[in-house]
């Protein structure tokens, strides 16, 4: 077990190095100069700027410096926010993205399991049709449309009621989180509902359920201990990737709801060609993703004894 974990971690570190190198090479091949400003700079100013960011050194030296600094957990100084370190940016903005992501995944998982179970119970009846219609909407409408429409609906609700039910944008309190998290989790929720539904249907006809019924167990016990529990397992498997995808994919929601998450910073950094922020964010997210997957694998092996780690 320990050897397995160690091996996985080692692989993870190697992957992060790969990501770091790929990003570094990508960034230094991007057309455009991160130091150019709206006002053309003369040679002297340009030289001063390049010296400040170490861009005047040969590429291999830059790469070694970059790797060395990264090893010490230092991603350098941002190009646009010239007195802020990339570390500060990640430290301040990643928790926001993570909070939003965790909440969205929780919404998605709880909602998906509940709706999925409900539709399977009421198969081919009204609740099933209604929920499955909503699921189809959730799967087929792009998230930016949902985000914009959700905000519009909320502002009209607020003005209709004359009180602010929920704030329409911004960040800071619980009330700010609800709508963005819902919008962000909606697609995943729809996906999980479908998964849960088919998983429930499969379990319902399983032999052990028939056995349980034959044994004369109470319906409650059959449902919770046997049906639900087994049906949830496939849902748990996809949660790991879902968390990662949602946390790193919250750009749209962060942009629409003016949330100071890392995703929005990344998009801005790309538009501004802010090398250090782009590299820092990518490597950080890469590492996050890699170790998240390892963690989920370990947890899954622990939950489901049928999966043996080798």
């Amino acid at each position: 077990m320990a050897a397995y974990v160690l091996k996985r971690i080692l692989q993870g570190v190697l992957t992060v190095w790969f990501i770091a190198t790929a990003t570094f090479l990508a960034m230094h091949n991007v057309p455009g100069d991160p130091l150019s400003g709206e006002r053309a700079t003369n040679a002297a100013i340009q030289a001063n700027l390049e010296a400040r960011y170490g861009l005047d050194k040969p590429l291999t030296e830059q790469y070694l410096i970059y790797l060395g600094n990264m090893m010490r957990g230092d991603f350098g100084i941002s190009f646009t926010q010239q007195n802020r370190e990339v570390n500060d940016i990640i430290r301040e903005h990643f928790p926001v993205s993570a909070t939003l992501g965790i909440l969205a995944v929780t919404f998605a998982a709880l909602g998906g399991i509940l709706w999925g179970a409900l539709t399977s119970l009421y198969r081919n009846r009204m609740p099933d049709y209604v929920i499955m219609f909503l699921v189809i909407l959730g799967i087929s409408v792009p998230s930016f449309v949902f985000a914009a429409l959700g905000q519009l609906a909320l502002v009209n609700l607020n003005s209709l009621l004359g009180v602010s039910v929920l704030p329409v944008a911004g960040w800071g309190t619980v009330s700010h989180m609800i709508l963005p998290a819902l919008v962000l989790g909606l697609g995943t929720m729809a996906y999980l509902t479908r998964l849960m539904r088919s998983s429930m249907l499969e379990v319902m006809t399983a032999d052990y359920i028939r056995t349980a019924k034959a044994k004369g167990l109470t319906p409650t016990r059959i449902f919770t201990r046997h049906q639900l529990r087994n049906a949830v397992l496939p849902v748990v498997t996809v949660l790991g990737p879902a968390i990662a995808a949602i946390t790193t994919g919250g750009f749209v929601v962060e942009l629409v709801f003016a949330i100071p998450g890392l995703g929005r910073y990344f998009v801005q950094a790309v538009q501004q060609l802010d090398y250090t922020v782009i590299m820092g964010t990518t490597v950080f997210y890469g590492a996050f993703l890699v170790f998240m997957v390892i963690l989920v694998d370990l947890i899954y092996g622990w939950i489901d004894p049928r999966v043996r780690l080798k």
Binding site: Q11, T15, F18, I19, A22, T23, A26, N29, V30, P31, I136, L137, I139, S140, V141, P142, S143, F144, V145, A148, L152, T205, A244, A245, T248, G249, F251, V252, L255, F266, V267, V270, Q271, L273, I278, T281, T282, Y285, G286, L289, V290, V293
Partner: protein
């Protein structure tokens, strides 16, 4: 699942009589059906999947045959019909070309009087206004409103300021639509304070067009017999126009070509690559397999959207390029490992199956094994993967367009059209509705078809439902 009781019947003497001799043994024949025939039969019973299939065929027809039927240039701009919704009044009166106004001449039937007034018939070319001096005013501000002006604090859009003693006329040219406008004017005194009264007037604008425009727009009327004051119909746009007056239907078709190109080709490419890669790894096994799978793991570990964006930036889009190819390449580069893993798993599994071992023992060659057993048995899974990859590719394209990293203008895609339209969502919902609807329909159709295919092809599912 209620167990019905089998009614018990007692035996009668007739039951013990001999049966007459039969000419031949009953032949129980079921037509032999291949895997694919079986799958197709199963798919046919799945209504949703079938409807989805028809929708997809319709979409492809819309994309490729559509432009042959609806021969409108998607790039052609009609600045007289910008952001027009479907089914609006298209009538226009033919008038003389617009001439700049100096504020002195009055149209017949209009004469200067007190207060704010019109100096000519208000048309979509221009609205001409005159007003008389207010004592004590140092300057005036003219407003335009879409609703009747009743509140001095909300007179509408401030159009211009005029100092007293200067000109007392204004010609409004700004985006005039055939509807009623309300113009108001307020005066400000020497202390820069607004005076309490305002003058207001309504102008009912009629849509007009000049001879030259009729000619250049090819409206299909006989120019020679056309006279000033005649009524003509402007170009017909069944789904309305966008923010530059381009035909929505034609643009949706053009956008479909881009969206479906990316949405279909990218999955096809990366799934094929994944199949080759995964099959090789799975079939060869051993160290090679280990190495190949590690490489796939690296790629899987890349944060997908971040790298999509990075790729877009690194490739860059040159002048006149649409940006489709970089997006395609990036999608393929980042998406293949999932298929590769899946196929490898399948191949590894099938390799251990008894029938493969049997075939091998009977002397089947590698080629035979691959083509007779491996590929047909994985094809179902591959097909399902492919179907589900289409919606995600379409979404990725839409998403990238949303954050401004998508296709370059003037290329249209459904994603970029939706993105542009979000800004005008409030006033021109049709601009958002149609492309978003197309995305939704496509994504939905492929998802449902994927479901149907999975049910039809997946051996485990046979016999259920």
């Amino acid at each position: 699942m209620s167990i019905s009781k089998i009614p018990v019947r007692t035996l009668r003497p007739a039951d013990f009589e001999l049966l007459p001799a039969q000419s031949a043994a009953p032949v129980i024949v079921r037509p032999s059906r291949s895997y694919w025939q079986d799958a197709w039969a199963r798919l046919k019973t799945n209504k949703r999947a079938l409807v989805s299939l028809y929708i997809i065929i319709a979409l492809i027809l819309f994309t490729f045959a559509g432009p042959l039927v609806w021969r409108v240039d998607p790039a052609r701009q009609d600045v007289d019909q910008i952001s027009v919704g479907p089914g609006v009044d298209r009538r226009a009166i033919v008038v003389e070309p617009w001439q700049a106004w100096d504020g002195s001449s009055l149209a017949p039937g209009y004469d200067s009087g007190e207060g704010l007034q019109l100096a000519a018939d208000p048309t979509t070319q221009s609205v001409r206004l005159l007003w008389s001096e207010v004592p004590g005013a140092t300057y005036y501000r003219l407003y335009r409103n879409l609703f009747s002006a009743t509140d001095i604090d909300a007179l509408g859009i401030p159009m211009a300021d005029f100092s007293a003693g200067g000109r007392r006329w204004y010609e409004d040219l700004l985006d005039l639509q055939p509807r009623e406008y309300f113009y108001s004017i307020t005066a400000f005194d020497a202390n820069n304070q607004r005076m309490d009264e305002f003058l207001t007037i309504s102008a009912d604008v009629t849509r007009v067009i000049t001879m030259d425009e009729v000619r250049s727009k090819e409206l299909g009327v006989d120019i020679d017999r056309l006279q000033l004051g005649d009524e003509v119909f402007l170009t017909f746009h069944p789904l309305g126009t966008d923010y530059l007056g381009r035909d929505m239907l034609a643009r949706l078709m053009a956008g479909a070509q881009v969206s479906l190109f990316i949405g279909l080709l990218a999955p096809l490419l990366f799934v094929s690559f994944g199949v080759l890669y995964g099959a090789t790894a799975g079939f060869v096994g051993g160290r090679v397999d280990q190495l190949m799978m590690r490489i796939a793991d690296f790629v899987v570990a890349l944060p997908f959207l971040l790298f999509m964006i990075l790729f877009q930036v690194v490739f860059g889009i040159g002048p006149g390029e649409s940006g489709i190819i970089p997006m395609l390449v990036a999608l393929v580069l980042l998406s293949w490992p999932a298929t590769a893993r899946l196929v490898r798993g399948q191949i590894m599994q099938i390799r251990e199956e008894a029938y493969v071992s049997a075939a091998r023992l009977l002397g089947g060659s590698h080629m035979y094994l691959i083509f007779r057993h491996m590929i047909p048995n994985t094809l179902g899974v591959i097909l399902v993967t492919l179907t589900f990859a289409v919606p995600s590719a379409i979404f990725t394209e839409a998403f990238l367009s949303f954050i401004g990293m998508g296709v370059a203008p003037p290329t249209a895609s459904w994603g970029s059209m939706s993105n542009e339209a979000l800004k005008t969502m409030l006033t021109h919902p049709h601009e958002l509705f149609f492309p978003a609807l197309m995305i939704s329909i496509t994504v939905l159709a492929f998802n449902l078809l994927g479901d149907g295919l999975r049910d039809a092809l997946d051996a485990r599912m046979r016999g259920m439902e």
